[in-house]
Symmetry: C2
Subunit: 197 residues, 2 copies
């Protein structure tokens, strides 16, 4: 009998607009939990503490930084965002897989301390396709779109730091490939104890 009692830490990155969020939601199950980020920004209407985010004030967040309670954190537009370690560790110890949907800088910080994680980079079928998707949202000016595409190019250059490429041509293909990766990772000798008696 082969046992792997600890869940997988799945770190899923990729350029913005590639469809990470949809893929991660599809992967969610009783055994596979989406990590909940912490932030100091104000909750938007309908957002719930502990579900969409853990909402903290600045002082609490800075204490969490000081006490190394975050796996990674960053500041955007005057607000803090981060990944609380306790939630992730609890789930992994219970044998649940945990998904972190996270941009490349954060993923690289996590990789330094968690080489046992599974690092997956989601790719668009092509840059043209990605541009179309971002334009299709209709929420951004042409300049903003150009600036986004420049960022996409920077983000793509981190792909080689990951273990797996998954192309998001169709959500169901990407999800099925990630499930295969999870099955393979759970079969890794380094994660398993074989009990044969």
């Amino acid at each position: 009998m082969i046992r792997n009692e600890r869940g997988l830490l799945l770190v899923i990155s990729g350029p913005s607009g590639v469809g990470k969020g949809t893929i991660c939601k599809e992967l969610e199950s009783p055994d596979t939990i989406l990590s909940v980020s912490a932030t100091t920004r104000q909750p938007r209407e309908g957002e719930e503490h502990g579900k969409n985010y853990f909402f903290y004030d600045k002082e609490t967040f800075e204490n969490m930084i000081a006490e190394d309670q975050l796996m990674e954190w960053a500041e955007y537009c005057g607000n803090y965002y981060g990944t609380p370690r306790a939630f992730v560790e609890d789930m992994l110890n219970q044998g649940k897989n945990v998904i972190l949907e996270i941009e490349v800088q954060g993923a690289m910080k996590i990789k330094q301390k968690h080489p046992e994680g599974v690092y997956i980079f989601i790719l668009p079928p092509s840059l043209q396709e990605l541009k179309k998707r971002i334009e299709g949202r209709g929420t951004e000016t042409p300049e903003a779109i150009e600036s986004r595409m420049a960022q996409v190019t920077r983000e793509l250059s981190y792909g080689s730091e990951y273990q797996y490429y998954v192309e998001n041509d169709l959500v169901e293909n990407a999800v099925s490939k990630i499930r295969a990766i999870m099955e393979a990772e759970n079969a890794k000798v380094a994660r398993c104890t074989a009990e044969l008696l």
Copy 2:
């Protein structure tokens, strides 16, 4: 678009009696080829050159050893057995996956020169179960069975040199797990070229 133009070299080992042969046959497909071994033993009735084995005389085999045309070789009961490199390389270059069903010593020799291979160790559900299967064949004396079981224990100690454990509780489960491993391995960044333009 993600490309991996080279096939996977799948090295499948495990204790004798564990069911490697049945699993490998199930994995065979137009894209996944079973490697054909070379030997100096006489063909048995119905065995074909190039299908069951490549049958060579001793001199030819020793020339192949001298010219490094074998990925590994060994001598058992006065006959040579080995894995011809050219066949495997041809298939991999054509983008076919190649399966080597091979005992642990041979697998370890191949691993030294082919770290890019995928090393899978098939486990029985339990040692008792394996003993039952070997006894079930009805071809061996109790002493031979004991000696086999001692060898199984030695072979199992090599498990940690492999990348993946696959339990052969049911052939279809083992085959499905190996297919997931192949899908994951083909998604590995180190094997892929991402073409995004």
